[in-house]
Symmetry: C2
């Protein structure tokens, strides 16, 4: 894996942020991420207008009134026909069908991407069978929140964060560069990875932590809730994520999640066995190892 | 377990916060918690002066210069002889010996407590064998941070938080009421529990989450660190806790920690098995259960 960098597509000329410009951005799925992409792109004047596509008209209208969107539509195909950049911000299980649906109506030159947390399955599915002029390249901006709905959107959600872009062998380098420039223009560092490698890494850094947080939350007996303090709250924060988002991610990345979950369980077992033996030295060794790894993380928190 | 309340010692008259007053507070162990107790008690004028006891003279002097303490000492016995309220804020494995050492030199009427995260072992050890005039009652203020050292002390660390007080059959109710009034005076809600019950609950709400966070941190491969975002960071925050604090807690509460850890592992296994089967309905059911429990938690965060 390459390190995050503002220059990770060295094989192709990079468009500077100031030169990154699309006329019409269509965001499919106007939740926290879709809304934040819309806000960030408009605020930085990377796009002239944003059309939000969804199913719930009153919710879409509210987002437009709140100036998160310029226009709204429930007609994916009609909106896609106007797009220069089209970003799917739906649950991952809806992306393949959505991209296939729009690929035949998009104008040549329209760039199609997504913000999903799994990449292997959908990049494999979408690397073939699209019209010649249609371009899909996967993206995964590592930003978000356990909160749901465009009301929690923030124009600065992506600032200083990493975005993984996952081109395949059939991706054109100039299109990869255009996509990279877009994420850079809203403040992100772009890392390029193969879709399979992305999914293996994210199983460890994100998907298994979600499984663990959810399992831990489920152990809390009602009557013990008053004694759950900030430690419990932080360790389980991401258990409050949207099941419409998380169930498809786990199913889509099943093998890598199971492999990483086994690594986690082995670490739990190591401490458990040391505790059964009363082996203070081994417990301390394990603890200090975890502490050192945690302290090397430098992650700026999104204020909650 | 009783709910948090400002009136949980209804069997005895409560001293109002304004009437809670000690002349000399001695804090043994001047770290984040000891320093914060000192700051909170002085700022609210609950005590006239605070003596901090420790081993590292330069560190103690710095804390005095920073006005966290009025006086410092490396002589536990000499300081204890001046105490009206004596609070042990050391790792839990040092509390029993420390209390035994001071109990013979304290004046009658001196109240001795602690801030440790385990209560059963030490309350059992200290319920007998102390001089008749010496009073020890266990406390566990549910406040803290993974950060270490008095530099991170905050006068408001305890505000709005719960403090568990764990009297035994031999505890005098008027002494329990004095101790309760102290924690209330620095802003806490007091819950009274039996020491054994406290340790069983805390295994679930705090000790196992620490074990889980530590195990999760240890799974992170170096090369994947750039893709660990806020979800990973929050889920592992408490893995950075001080091993001098956490190794003794886990050893001291071994049986309850192992029992709660088995409950956690069963929850992980339930999701793992559903994932192997590809059982989306069961994964969703488990996820929604965890989400509902997490969303019922209303924990105000200490800003980091």
């Amino acid at each position: 894996m390459s390190q995050p960098s503002n220059n990770s597509t060295a094989a192709a000329p990079i468009l500077g942020a100031s030169r990154c410009r699309f006329d019409t951005l269509v965001v499919v799925g106007v939740g926290l991420l879709g809304g934040s992409v819309a806000l960030a792109a408009r605020q930085r004047e990377i796009v002239r207008r944003v059309i939000g596509v969804g199913r719930n008209v009153p919710r879409l209208e509210q987002a437009r009134e709140a100036r998160v969107l310029d226009d709204v539509s429930t007609d994916l195909v009609a909106a896609a026909a106007q797009a220069d950049l089209l970003i799917f911000a739906t649950p991952v299980n809806l992306i393949v069908a959505g991209v296939r649906e729009v690929a035949t109506v998009c104008r040549p030159g329209t760039l199609i991407t997504d913000v999903g947390s799994t990449k292997a399955h959908l990049c494999r599915e979408l690397s073939a069978g699209l019209p010649n002029f249609a371009t899909f390249i996967g993206s995964h901006p590592l930003a978000g929140s356990e909160k749901q709905g465009w009301e929690h959107s923030r124009a600065d959600l992506f600032e200083g964060r990493v975005c993984v872009v996952t081109p395949t062998e059939s991706s054109r380098r100039d299109e990869v560069a255009r996509l990279t420039a877009f994420w850079q223009a809203i403040g992100m560092s772009v890392v390029e990875m193969l879709p399979d490698a992305h999914d293996r890494v994210l199983a460890q850094t994100s998907h298994v932590p979600h499984v663990v947080a959810s399992a831990l939350a489920r152990t809390l007996a009602d009557e013990n809730r008053p004694l759950a303090a900030t430690g419990f709250a932080d360790t389980t924060r991401i258990a409050a994520g949207d099941p419409n988002v998380w169930v498809p991610i786990l199913l889509d990345n099943r093998d890598a999640v199971l492999a990483s979950l086994d690594e986690f369980s082995a670490q739990v077992a190591a401490l458990r066995e040391a505790l059964i033996r009363g082996d203070a030295n081994e417990i301390r060794r394990l603890w200090e190892q975890g502490k050192a790894i945690r302290e090397q993380l430098k992650v700026s928190r999104v204020a909650e």
